[in-house]
Amino acid sequence: MLETINLSKSFKGKKVVQDVNLYLNNGESVGLLGPNGAGKSTTISMISTLIKPTSGEIKLNGVNTIDKPGEIRRISGVVPQELALYQELSAYENLKFFGAIYKMTGKELEKGIQQALEFVGLEARQKDLVKTYSGGMKRRLNIAAALLHQPKILILDEPTVGIDPQSRNHILETVRMLNQKDGTTILYTSHYMEEVEQLCDRLYIMDHGKIIAAGTKAELLSILSTEDTIKVELNKLDETFVEQVKTIEGVRKVEASHLQLKIIATKGSNLISKLVHLAEQHHLQLINFHTETPSLEDVFLQLTGRTLRN
């Protein structure tokens, strides 16, 4: 349905997106995962035709949308990261305006407004001013504004930033329903691993403007299939101890935080006995010790050497 070919964008000579190749099939839910500044927002701004790429192509059913932006604008809805709403107007007035710019009028507009409000659970507060809403309610209205013209592709740019867990769950549920019940194709960007894991069929992991991994969750986890993730809790953390852990045969990555160590090591490295021995040498006490099933977070750590929220 939609694909990007070697999509790149430079600002003042600095490449912020480099040769991004991704595709979305009809009715699919695709996640674009990466830390802040990875180039996710620039990528979706190019896909939604808000900014022109420096090079590369974007094709919607074979039609180049850089030359014909109207093709994708007509069938897509974009939920921006910022709250693109008039705070001094009511939710109803906001939606009336956003519907009107899509040339919706009369009964069609009224029906669209009520459907969108119902979808995000704001129909009871539609006459209230947006500035009186909680952060979560504003985020939901931000989504409703993109749903008015019933888009086939919904592009969401970090729609859950800065809201409480309850509102986040509500938004995730709304997006899931849109995808599963209405068959809307979803492109969801986030730096929250759990959201993308929960919602998306396929994932693209971005860092420093490049796609560094792509596939289903299982495919991405298979990157770590030859590795174990071990978490060790100590009574105190000693830098020389950490440095010596890194030198143990089979250890690939070590991340220390507070009194914990997260170690990614080759399967069957017989790490436990070596760690116990090393802790004794440093007069450290092992308080807790367990092997974890690898997560996408671990995949990201493995690929980039840092965590998503660094």
Binding site: S48, T49, L50, I51, K52, G70, R73, R74, S76, V78, P80, Q81, E82, L83, A84, L85, Y86, E88, L89, E93, F97, F98, A100, I101, Y102, K103, L129, A145, A146
Partner: protein, 366 residues
Amino acid sequence: MNSVLWVQFCKDKRSPLFILLFIAGSILATLLFAGGVYSPTTVAIFSEEENASEIEKKWESLLNVDNSFKFEIVDPEKARENVKDGNMDVAVMLMETDYRLVATSELPSVSYVQQHVEKVFQREAQISAIAETRGEGDVRSEIESYLADAPFQLETQGLDSEQVPKYNMSTQLLFAFTFLISMFILGLKVNNVTNDKVSGIWDRMILSPMKKTSMYCGYVLYSFLITMFQIIVVLLLFKYVMNYEVGDNLWLVMMIAAFFTFSMISIAMLITGFVRTPEQFYAIYPSLIPLIPLISGAYMMPGTITNPVLLFVADLFPLAHAMEAIMSVIFYDAGLQDVMMSLLFMLLIGVVAMGVGINLIERRSK
């Protein structure tokens, strides 16, 4: 475009205080600096002669001959106290055939009163002298009927054989302050473009089927309409309620105001093109706007500014052209043809500034 107009109107409908305060500010500034409601200046008169009441009555009727001043008989002590406290600029102490002015300083108003009183006393002195010589008959009536159809009459005429008009500074200040406030209103409305860009609403509109031309037209037209509303309300109020001299050709005055508004909106758009955030606009625009009437000489009598550099800079802004055209219409009965040059200047400034401004805004978006 209609939806942009509608949403901007909804925002102002929700909080109309902003516009109302600006309109009130415009009225107050004019009242404060242009002398308030147009009414004759009251001057206290009194006498301390033996036949004080007789003298006061005689001179009261002789002094109150036109609408410029209203001479009122006041108790001598009270008149002196009022002048001393600054409640009055001047009072007139009357004598049988002479007068004294009671004032604390040489204010312009004291000179005006003195000119008027001197004229009346000289005339009376002349009539008395003639009456003494003739010794019989009603000399005053005779002189008045003779002067009504005198063999030599002095008539002042303008270049176009019309009567020389009186220049009214209050009218000029009325327009100067009205336009000053209107520049603030239109600027803050044009800044909604930057506000909506920063909030992401602009992007939502870009992604919609709405054309960019319609988007810009919506913002520009709304700024225009709301500014014209302020100008019209203030002018009608001053013309019909406060009796200011706004001329008879109100439609032409409104037309000039419309050209001025469009031209200033374009300048505001040009400034929008240079800034990145609404806050930058709020910092730059209000600092720049109060300078325009000063450079354009809007607060001064025509011809006060003679420096060619300042005159050139003033010509770059629409205010100088608008003031010149409006004053010509009000005081010299200028028609559309006469103010065409000023209108064209304003249109030119408007088109150039709008073109460059929108170009800068669009470049910044890429």
